[in-house]
């Protein structure tokens, strides 16, 4: 936990370059500054942290209120409280001695190795990407071959991660390219999902492939509907209106019982077909047509390839659009709206296209979500989803397509992996349930990654428009996400 402020230099008082230098030091590319702190300072700092944890935990870790017959009951847990204080003391002391105040921080060697790896072979990144792409192509077969018993679970996880990658890429158009902070992206995801579900409910002949473009179109229209009133807003005013819009959509879905089914949601959403073939057992199914044995895993593999293709489409369109005048207009808008206007760029149309194209991909992902789940309810479209998608975009490094992939794998894969930690309950006793710590760890990871790398995991990217030669630019040079 935190210690006193005195041994931390105030970032604000440093010149602009110092921030970059501090980051370089954290990455291990520059030698650390000896702090000259003694063991006594470390101890005092750890003691402060312990006291702070004691204060913070007193009413939460120690005292617990529970519903009991005849009102609320107060129980105390002194042991847990003392243990948490001890952990804070020991943890802070270890951090002080080995990382913050050490002449040679333990993290430095690690950082140097990583940096050296990157410098030694500049082409590694490209090859790594190609490797990743090939792995993504053969992923379902890889899992069915290697983990025959758990393939379904792994492919399901891959589908989930791929959905978030697609959503991240879609939001990246709005936030990363056009610099419009959107806190209500989940609204378009919901519009896409509900468009398909309702169309399928009211018109029997509409299947996934017909509904997919319709859902995208409807989401794009909603993107414009939202975009229009907020055209004049900037920065955080825009953020709160988009957040409000996301909540409005959710509340309407929840309360318009006759049309959307309210909290009961919509079930029985049709599964996608393979050129008219249903992936079902028996006569006329996919397996029957191709003369192979039926296996439920086929449907998961098929779903995986659908979302993979949709995600690739999102990426392809984004990369192409960045080279078109409209994409350049987005990036110019992000850098400086006033300059943009004075150069004759129509900022209204630029913003609206960014909103609606970003929304369209959200709509595609939404209708895929509906067909994959077979059941949707407003529960799935809370603000937390928007926050997770935005976190993926920002943690990955704004405007970076690869960053989104890495952040999705780390964050979504990470929290899903935490579901499988049942063995921990054998260590900590049967009362210990690791699943309930999932979101706590997710939140902590968001904070720690951001503090560790404020510009995201992939913080350099190629500029889309160049004058003479391509140079890597740091994300710190472009005022991304300023919203004006």
């Amino acid at each position: 936990m935190a210690g006193p402020a005195k041994n931390v230099p105030a970032d604000i008082q440093k010149p602009a370059g110092a921030q970059a230098k501090a980051e370089a030091r954290r990455d291990g590319t520059q030698p650390p500054v000896p702090t000259g702190k003694t063991m006594q300072d470390s101890l005092r700092d750890a003691l402060t942290a312990a006291v702070l944890v004691g204060v913070l935990g007193l009413f939460f870790i120690n005292v617990r209120t529970d519903i009991a017959p005849g009102g609320l009951d107060v129980t105390t847990r002194w042991v847990a409280w003392f243990v948490s204080i001890l952990i804070a003391f020991a943890g802070r002391l270890a951090l002080n001695v080995f990382v913050f105040n050490a002449r040679k921080p333990a993290t430095e060697t690690l950082g140097k190795k990583v940096a050296a790896l990157g410098n030694a072979a500049p082409g590694t990144g490209k090859w790594l990407l190609r490797g990743l792409f090939i792995f993504a192509c053969i992923l379902p077969f890889f899992f069915t071959m290697l983990f025959p018993g758990r393939d379904r679970q792994f492919i399901d996880l891959a589908i989930l991660i791929m959905t978030y990658i697609m959503l991240g890429w879609g939001l990246n158009i709005v936030v990363g390219l056009a610099g419009l902070l959107d806190l209500g992206y989940v609204a378009f995801y919901a519009v896409g999902a509900y468009s398909f579900a309702l169309l399928a409910q009211y018109f029997d002949f509409i299947g996934f492939w017909v509904a997919l473009p319709l859902a995208g179109l409807l989401a794009a229209v909603w993107g414009m509907v939202l975009g229009f009133p907020v055209l004049r807003l900037r920065g955080d005013y825009l953020a709160i209106v988009t957040l409000a819009f996301g909540e409005i959509i959710r509340v309407v879905l929840l309360n318009w019982y006759e049309f959307t089914g309210g909290p009961d949601g919509i079930s029985g959403i049709p599964k996608p077909t393979f050129f008219g073939l249903e992936l079902k057992r028996g006569e006329g199914g996919f397996a029957d047509f191709f003369g192979i044995a039926y296996d439920p895993i086929h449907r998961f593999i098929f779903l995986y390839y659908i979302i993979f293709a949709l995600a690739l489409l999102t990426n392809f369109v984004t990369m192409r659009l960045r080279r078109l005048p409209i994409g350049r207009a987005w990036e110019a808008l992000r850098e400086d709206e006033i300059a943009c206007r004075s150069l004759g760029i129509n900022t209204r149309n630029t913003k609206l296209t960014a909103f609606s194209i970003g929304a369209m991909f959200g709509g595609f992902a939404g209708s895929f979500f509906a067909t994959r789940q077979g059941f949707i309810s407003p529960e799935s479209f809370t603000f937390l989803e928007s926050a997770i998608i935005l976190a993926i975009v920002v943690l990955g490094g704004l405007g970076s397509q690869v960053g989104v992939v890495i952040a999705s794998v780390v964050m979504i894969g990470g929290i899903e992996m935490l579901r499988n930690l049942g063995f921990l309950s054998q260590v900590f006793g049967p009362g210990f349930d690791p699943v309930q710590y999932r979101m706590l760890i997710f939140g902590l990871a968001m904070v720690l990654i951001m503090v560790w790398k404020p510009r995201g995991l992939v913080s350099t990217r190629e500029p889309s428009a160049v004058l003479k030669e391509k140079k890597k630019i740091g994300a710190d040079m472009v005022a991304q996400g300023e919203g004006h």
Partner: protein
């Protein structure tokens, strides 16, 4: 008419709570220009501390004199919630000061998730009901409508909430306008680098801003607990969003604006539930925000941004 007056009173009460939370948002936004998403959860933390302290005093230690109990609860809640506010700033925002703008927003959302889940784990996910503590009130008017007799009542609880809010607002305005701390805050708001050069301890001033915001949120948390009698780990989200909406509606960065916005949001919500449908009260509040912002892009009392080239 009677119904209208009653709704007006209810709206002002709810609006006072929103206003107190909104001040925390608007101050932080004014001084470092970030949305402190975790502030709603600080309010929730305040409500939980108040509940625990209240139960310790009444059922464990056996205090019976309610005004004294409430006084101790409010002081303890303010102190401990301030510690939380300080820690959140120290851990999640200070390391990112001077970084680009979305970074602290993401840590704020992360902190909000952390606080919610921390409270859920340590205190359980079930709601905590507290029976009404302050009962009775003053009957203002009585009337008859076609559905039966209607009584307009101003309950003691509502009087306490509105009076406390007024006192805190007055004290707070004094603090900002008259003391050296307030001067330092206003200086940091205008130009942090220049303030640092002139000897203002910027880090300390920002920390104190968070501490003050958290203390006000703790008072709001106690009021919420006493008014509604039910809290859970999730109350912070909606209250936070509403309060932030209030801050934006009033013009973010402006203290009277936050209070005005809070009262407006409270009134809109109560009148909408009273005259139309209770389900769509949030939609009404958010729609009015959107409409106001279309015509006044910097809120009701906010100063329009000057575009510098």
């Amino acid at each position: 008419m009677e119904y209208f007056v009653q709704q007006l009173i209810n709206g002002l009460t709810l609006g006072s709570i929103y206003g107190l939370i909104a001040i925390g948002y608007t101050m932080v936004y004014g001084i470092i220009g970030m949305i402190n998403f975790a502030h709603g959860d600080i309010f929730m933390i305040g409500a939980f501390i108040a509940l625990a302290m209240f139960l310790i005093l009444t059922s464990v230690l056996g205090f019976a004199f309610l005004p004294l109990v409430l006084l101790i609860v409010v002081i303890v809640a303010m102190i401990f919630t301030s510690a939380w506010g300080w820690t959140v700033e120290r851990l999640a925002y200070r390391p990112l000061r001077g970084s680009f703008r979305l970074a602290p927003l993401i840590t704020a959302i992360g902190m909000s998730i952390v606080l919610q889940n921390f409270v859920q784990i340590t205190q359980g996910a079930r709601v905590k009901p507290l029976p009404p503590q302050i009962q009775g009130g003053i009957t203002l008017m009585e009337g008859n409508t076609e559905t039966g007799a209607i009584v307009v009542q101003l309950s003691y609880m509502q009087i306490i909430i509105i009076l406390t809010t007024l006192v805190l607002m007055a004290g707070f305005t004094m603090l900002i306008n008259r003391t050296s701390l307030g001067r330092a805050q206003r200086a940091c708001e205008q130009d942090r680098k220049m303030a640092a050069l002139l000897g203002v301890n910027v880090d300390r001033t920002i920390s104190l801003t968070f501490v003050m915001g958290a203390a006000l949120a703790a008072v709001a948390g106690l009021m919420f607990l006493l008014l509604y009698g039910v809290i859970d780990f999730y109350i912070g989200f909606l209250a936070g969003v509403k309060a932030f909406t209030a801050a934006v509606l009033g013009g973010i960065g402006s203290l009277p604006g936050a209070m005005l916005g809070g009262l407006l949001i409270g009134l809109i919500e109560v009148f909408w539930s009273g005259y139309f449908t209770v389900e769509y009260k949030d939609v009404a509040a958010f729609s009015i925000l959107a409409i106001v912002l279309i015509f006044l892009p910097s809120g009701l009392l906010g100063q329009p941004e000057v575009e510098k080239v």
